[in-house]
Amino acid sequence: MVQAAVTAPRGGVRQHPAVRVLLYALARLAALFAAVVVGVYLTILVANMGGYVDQIKRAEIREQVALAVSLNEQLRRLPADVRERVAEEMVRNEERRLGLDRPFLSRSVAYLRDALLLRLGFAERMTSDTGSRLVRQIILDRLPATLLLFLSAQLLLFFTSVAAALVLSRRYGSLADRLVVALAPTSAAPAWFYGIFLILVFAAGLRWLPFGGMVDAPPPEGKLAYAASVLRHMVLPLSSLALSSIFLSVYAWRTFFLIFSSEDYVELARAKGLPDRLVERRYILRPALPTILTSFALGLIGAWTGAIVLETVFNWPGLGRALYQAVGLYDTPVIVGSTILYAYLLAVTVFALDVVYAVVDPRVRVGAGGQG
């Protein structure tokens, strides 16, 4: 009797679980897509300085045309008014070629459509390392270097700090614990700041490691030698990334674990006689898993764009430097291209996290029991 009364509404809610999950997934996807559209459109507006870049480009076109006309022997011989008209014609042609004859707002919508369809187009000024003007090629050429450096940094930092934090949370108040807490403010300085110091000490002073770049010049023959050379070049950038965040990260995770380990069910688990390892695994890490996964996934995405200044300090041929260059050159297609990739990646990750949450945390499951 009691059972029937309690289970009935539950059965009612679960009539079409597949449909409900599908609807939920579609709604989430739509919301994420809307966020991507807004983000990319804002980037287009900002990268074009709200249309001001058009004026810069117009001025540049006029300058180029004037230069071309003045250098052209045939044109120079024409009467002034004819020459003027020819020049005007050239300017108009060039403006039409770049689409500057249409108002910026209508063009921005076209840019948005192209970006969303991943038609990244051609760069306006930049060329890729392999000599292509395709934005896609520019990004793809630079991406592996950035991923290599920042992904390994992220993986290394994440697992080291989580493991260290677990140990510290077990030894709350110990010397190591207090040391980490005291050192946490060292993360206030950015990675490139430590980079400069490390270069000074280990490259300029001791001459143990290279100043920058990704491989020796010329690149060594043979895969093993090549890999060894890349590794040697990675030591300093990795160390500066680690130095700039490890203590804060350990401190944050350790505090997080301390909070989770003061939950009542953790205490009960200890009373139940679970060994510490098991308490940690099932009663601290497991309930905290959604938060840990989020932090991990977002950190991974962060590895995509790299860090502009760090790549510059270490002369690392990554995407961050390409982006920096693009900003300096008003090369909007490159800026928008890397932004759209980043936005899509973020959206996909957030969607994947939604799915993962539902798997690892029963409380998040859609409508389960009516409370989640």
Binding site: T7, A269, R270, A271, G273, G372
Partner: protein, 324 residues
């Protein structure tokens, strides 16, 4: 006969920003076999800390932990943490936490949490083998068996507390510590749970150490009552005497503060607050609020044996010495 649990001069002090807190300060207590002892007292008198000290669930800021906790003739204080975990925890001494607490792991099914002690104790090799025992345990406390596959957040507070009780009893330990097991629940659920506990005690012969601030709850379950005040047990004895004629002035005040069905008298509240556990008074800790205060109360009161227990008060020391 040797009691099941004997607590002697148990002390548990905490380090805090404002100083040393003497939460449990020399507690003496006995729990007989199959008996239920209620530890009664106001909030902040160290009841929960006493439960922690017995269960050895110590927070990080412990400054001092000493005394004797003798379970079944074995001094538990002599055991290392690992020995205590393997030989005592849950199999001989289990725990039902406060009802308001989220004492169940939110991401594990009820079934797995209830079964956990069974495979820890090596009674089953895999959690799935425990199915029958888990279901029997749930049935015994009145939880529908299909709740076993639910998660804690899908259960009401009363049901969750029943699950906690089922879990505490699954290894049939001789002693269960219940820390305010019903206080956070509504009156009806409270009554149901108290009836359940009464039945279980009768069926299984388990001893309960019941921590509560509620005289009514204690009157339902207790065979013996230990009245706690400012970190000390000021009176210990049969429940029947506590409810009929408490000895210690504080116990009397506590008893008088609740309505009784049998007597025509309004409840009388006790004015004042317990002393701070940071710097308890040197003499009797109740002296400041005591209506019967007299000269010797400035000195620490003696532990006076009375029939079936003891009382910590100068009033009875006088009587004892006069009788001699």
């Amino acid at each position: 006969m040797e009691p099941l649990l004997r607590v002697e001069d148990l002390r548990l002090y905490f380090r805090t920003a404002s100083g040393l807190v003497r939460a449990v300060d020399g507690v003496h207590l006995e729990v007989g076999r199959g008996r239920t002892v209620a530890v009664l007292g106001e909030s902040g008198c160290g009841k929960t800390s006493l439960a922690r000290a017995v269960l050895r669930l110590l927070p990080r800021n412990v400054a001092h932990y000493s005394g004797r906790v003798v379970l079944d003739g074995q001094d538990l204080m002599g055991l290392s943490e690992e020995q205590f975990r393997q030989r005592v925890r849950w199999a001989r001494l289990s725990f039902v936490p406060q009802a308001a607490m989220n004492s169940l792991n939110p991401v594990l099914r009820i079934r797995d949490q209830v079964a956990e002690p069974l495979w820890l104790a090596g009674l089953v090799r895999r959690p799935e083998e425990a199915q029958e025992q888990v279901e029997a345990a749930l049935r015994r406390v009145g939880v529908p068996v299909d709740f076993a596959d639910r998660y804690p957040f899908e259960l009401s507070g009363g049901m969750r507390q029943r699950v906690a009780i089922a879990m505490a009893l699954i290894l049939r330990p001789p002693l269960v510590v219940l820390d305010e097991p019903t206080s956070a629940l509504d009156v009806l659920t409270q009554a149901n749970l108290l009836n359940l506990l009464k039945t279980l005690r009768w069926e299984l012969g388990t001893s309960f150490l019941l921590i509560t601030h509620d005289v009514a709850t204690a009157s339902e379950l207790a065979d013996d009552v230990a009245v706690m005040y400012a970190g000390q047990v000021v009176e210990f004895g049969p429940a029947e005497r506590f409810f009929r004629q408490p000895l210690h002035p504080y116990a009397r005040a506590l008893r008088a503060s609740v309505v009784s069905l049998r007597e025509e008298r309004p409840p009388t509240p006790l004015p004042g607050r317990p002393p701070s556990l940071l710097s308890p008074p040197e003499g009797c800790r109740f002296a400041d609020r005591c209506p019967e205060r007299f000269d010797p109360c400035g000195q620490p009161p003696p532990q006076v044996s009375v029939e079936g227990g003891c009382v910590m008060c100068w009033l009875y020391a006088q009587e004892a010495s006069r009788a001699r």
